[in-house]
Symmetry: C3
Subunit: 461 residues, 3 copies
């Protein structure tokens, strides 16, 4: 097992919160504010940039190199599964190794070169070493006629095939004649590789956070997701937490299927999950609900996006996309949603050479990070309380919780939040229910609940 | 009983479908395409044109003549119910016979003539033979002051009355003076007549298809409906089918009540039903749901209209309209909806002489026909399946069901349809449920399901 | 107990309605029309104008004077609850008496004078008699910088404090120097006062009608509500009625809490309730639903407002506003909604000196009155019936209930209403259900039901 040099984060201490005494740690309430994390967007960007040049595929060293880099920030547990292993309806494919690939003209000049961009080779391409005329070579070349400057990203995992990808303009500029096509790759028995990181919590209930690790030099899809989850894992390790957080960095589809096949029994612990990809561009944000549609993660993400980003799009589940396809297959039907900025397939840069480091930006990465953290705060803090005075309102003014001069039409949001929490904390509505009903941010409702708990006006049902 | 010269259609053969083996006939899959029926709009139009001149009413020979013409295309079983028979709260009225009707001026010239249009006589009018001044005659004349060129259609079934209908302009042109009013009609003991045609299916479950047969020379209302259902009955007779289809051609209100009174016990077999009228104009299409509102016919028609006609209107049930009023009375509450183009009462030609053969057109009749056929295909083919691989997606590429080059953002609709069917075929969602959820046409979802069944990836729950 | 000179209204007689025989009184059907009440808007206005000058607070003689005036129109039962009494989480505060209040300049001229408007004194202000410079005085002065011509209404019930309210312009015009501040008030042991009026009905089921009585010279908020309910109580006393109507005129918050604390057992009889305030301006109308959201009062008010006032606003419950806050606290959760014209806090005159007698008008008061009466008619007359002929429509024409000439596209609303009532009176839908489903006014549906009952076509389930 590959064990890169991890930076281990300290465990959360077991002390009692001096403020709200909820989570059994000294930093509970303080940890609610995120102000200590101001440069997180840049740090995610820098990590994504470090991952960008690596040529990843569904198997092979690209995944291992990537996990090695993530492992400098968080402890990564790497699993290798041999080629030929049966995982549900699928078989682990051979391991792909690639050293070089190019098309050379008669003068021996490289007109397409893997060293310039790993997108130039059909991902998982079989080896080839052949001389052939342009017309015949074209059968092995993928371009984007509608985006003639861009190189497409193409794969051929499940049919053995060799090929190149290039811009349509570059292809058009090639004079007729014979060319030499070389792909110095190997498809051989080996392993499929994935990595995991666990942040243990007070409970065994797990929150699953997932990013696919199989795409080569595409910055948004998914260097951005891998980097964001790595920084999130670090941060969660520093905070008190109720849930256990499991991060899985696995190849798309086959990696997710492999993980599920090897961890089927453990899926009963998964209470919430999120597939994270394409989180660095300026579009969206987009949340696609789990197949269940009413899971807490669905409600939490929808709530956060509604308040934080009015342009946000909340979509119902559909069975195409990223690995929510597997986690939400009917035999699992896990509460796993999908978070992105621009939705896959809808932006022109998608799966092209334009999905590069200019396409993602620290501020978008930071907003994505903060939206996910806000949803996690709901997963952590949503709870159902009951008022100690349910017949008429309690006298808030006497307790210093309410303005003593009346009649003003401007009632502070904090006062309104307390009234909402008091009225609907009847043992059936959770704080998120109340936040939704009042159209107030969860954080405001939660803060009002903490004040009322401290005043003895709210308790467990 | 009147037995016109029927063209009997052959029974569907009992062989097994060579393709999908679903329906136990050789033509199952082939029958899904409608390409063999290209001139159906013109054939419906021609039949409607043949029915148009007949003077129909709720009783009398007009209904018999009409059934005779339909009987040249399909086998019609005619029922005669004597005047005075009690049917629920109603009594079968006397039979109406009319030979001639006119208003003549002092010179003996016919200024209103039943021979020119049967709309000129108040439908079901009592006989009269009288000479009277214009002012007194006017009490017996119906016009449309807001549409002064048109002759209205008016009836007086349940109060004995004589009268004429004419255009307001023609009435205004009549000089004062004495006129002779002659209506050579007879109201006498006789029968109420209705016709039925049954296309037996594999199951006794019945689909009821209804058109009222009591309106005189009104092309859309309802020569169009009578002609469409006749051609549909022919076509269904040629196809494999699960359900039994019962066509009823009966006078409005009293005919429907009579049929229900005589067939009350059999209504338990009625699983779906549709009242068809005004299907030849260019408006709508309009579907009014059954009183239940969530019957399969309601969902099927709404689905078909949504995809085929973006201008379509789906309405909730209301207790006014055609014979859905009786079939959806609370004591029956049958799953019977109503299909039209323009909705009754909303188009200026409604119940006037402008509802003539120029108002209907083969292309509208054809679209109406195809929409109804598409809904029937849902009634026939909707089913609930379960995947054989519910834990993660099955490997479609290995089975040749999926493109082997990945990464392209344009995913074929057929691939998407397979993913939808696989993900939601968990034994609780029918194909129509999946079609609605995916916003894909039922036919596309159904075709994907057939492919997956053939590949062994889907089966009965 | 204060017993002002009441005008007692006669009890409804026990005779049988000569028309519909529903309510066991001779005036049942006649009472459905409100035409005998044409000047009600002016009468409500005049009463509100009489109440306007009184300086009310949550305790003290202002409430008693007000109840005395109301008592000239209806019999008022007055309750006095001693200071210091515990009511749920609250304690009845001291009684406030005020004789005079002013700020005088060095010349002894009153620059702020309680005799000009009782808004000038901070409501429930502690006494003061002090000479102090302007800058120091300003700490006790409330103004509205954004509405510099208006005097705000401010209170300080639960923190002992003295103060004045004045226009920002008037404050700006005060020259520096010493001023004399005099508030000749008293806060002493005494009572909290509220009044009730009961209109007994055939049943013990109660409809609670509530108006707060604690605001000083604010015409809309709530002289209008007090006056409207008083006139409504008179009118209900004259009509036959199924329900018992209880009117409560109590100080806001503490008065409602006191009433609930003293009448907790009786709340089981409360089937419907309405808080009435700000009913005289030209905005809205606004109905805020009870916490339950689906109470009959919620549906009745929403139905009435939808038909009578297209600009009406129907809001979900929120825990801020008037005394619905207490009646809808989770421990009671009574079916009590809130009716207003412009919503509290949303109009510029709210809680300012601009909420004067020019701000309210007889026509708005009358419309408010009629909307509430229409909702009460639904509470009184909503019922679930069942047709005697549920299989097919009954023959309405034979019974003279339907036009005998058919074919006309304009079907009278009354005919449509009968069809709706017949089709949906299957023992599960009430008349209000049918009115909502048909989008017809309840009164039209109810009248159709009465006709059908009289014809023997509808009866109790």
């Amino acid at each position: 097992m590959l064990r890169p040099d991890p930076i281990r984060t300290g465990d959360a201490g077991p002390d009692t919160c001096t403020n709200c005494s909820r989570h059994g740690t000294a930093r509970c309430c303080q940890a609610r504010t995120l102000g200590d994390d101001r440069d997180v967007g840049q740090r995610i960007y820098d990590l994504a940039a470090e991952l960008y040049p690596i040529c990843r595929s569904i198997t092979g060293n690209g995944v291992r190199y990537t996990l090695g880099i993530l492992g400098r920030h968080i402890d990564i547990d790497v699993t290798e599964v041999p080629s030929g292993t049966q995982v549900f309806d699928w078989t682990i494919p051979r391991e792909w190794t690639i050293a070089d690939a190019y098309i050379a003209n008669a003068a021996g000049e490289r007109v397409v070169d893997f060293r310039a961009s790993n997108l130039h080779v059909l991902n998982y391409s079989a080896p080839v070493r052949a001389q052939l005329p342009l017309e015949q070579l074209k059968e092995h070349i993928f371009t984007l006629p509608d985006q003639p400057d861009l190189v497409p990203y193409r794969t051929s995992y499940y049919a053995e095939r060799w090929g190149f990808c290039m811009s349509d303009n570059a292809l058009a500029a090639l004079p007729p004649g014979d060319y030499t096509a070389v792909i110095d790759s190997k498809l051989a028995e080996g392993n499929l590789t994935y990595g995991e990181h666990v942040v243990p919590g007070d409970a065994e209930d797990e929150v699953l956070l997932l990013a696919h690790i199989c795409h080569p030099s595409l910055a948004n899809d998914n260097c951005s997701g891998l980097a964001l989850l790595t920084m999130l894992a670090r941060e969660l390790g520093r905070r008190p937490r109720r849930h256990t957080y499991r991060f899985v960095f696995a190849p798309g589809t086959i990696g997710a299927i492999t993980w599920l096949a090897r961890n089927e029994a453990g899926t009963v612990r998964i209470k919430h999950g999120l597939v994270v990809s394409c989180v660095g561009d300026g579009g969206g944000p987009t949340y696609k609900k789990s197949r269940r549609g009413d899971a807490l993660i669905d409600r939490a993400m929808a709530h956060v996006l509604k308040h934080a980003a009015p342009s946000a799009v909340i979509e119902d589940f559909s069975p195409y996309g990223y690995d929510e396809r597997q986690y939400c297959s009917p035999g699992f039907n896990l509460p796993v949603g999908s978070f992105q900025r621009s939705k896959y397939g809808t932006f022109p840069e998608y799966h092209t050479s334009a999905d590069n480091l200019d396409f993602i930006a620290p501020e978008h990465l930071e907003q994505s990070y903060r939206l996910i953290v806000a949803a996690i705060e709901i997963l952590e803090n949503d709870r159902t309380l009951i008022g100690t005075n349910t017949k008429c309102e309690p006298a808030l003014g006497r307790r210093g919780l309410y303005a003593t001069v009346g009649g003003d039409k401007a009632v502070a949001q904090d006062n309104m939040a307390m009234l909402w929490v008091l009225n609907f904390s009847d043992g059936t509505s959770s704080l998120l229910d109340i936040a939704e009903r009042s159209a107030m941010p969860f954080a405001v409702i939660d803060a009002a609940a903490v004040r009322l708990e401290q005043a003895g006006l709210l308790g467990a049902p």
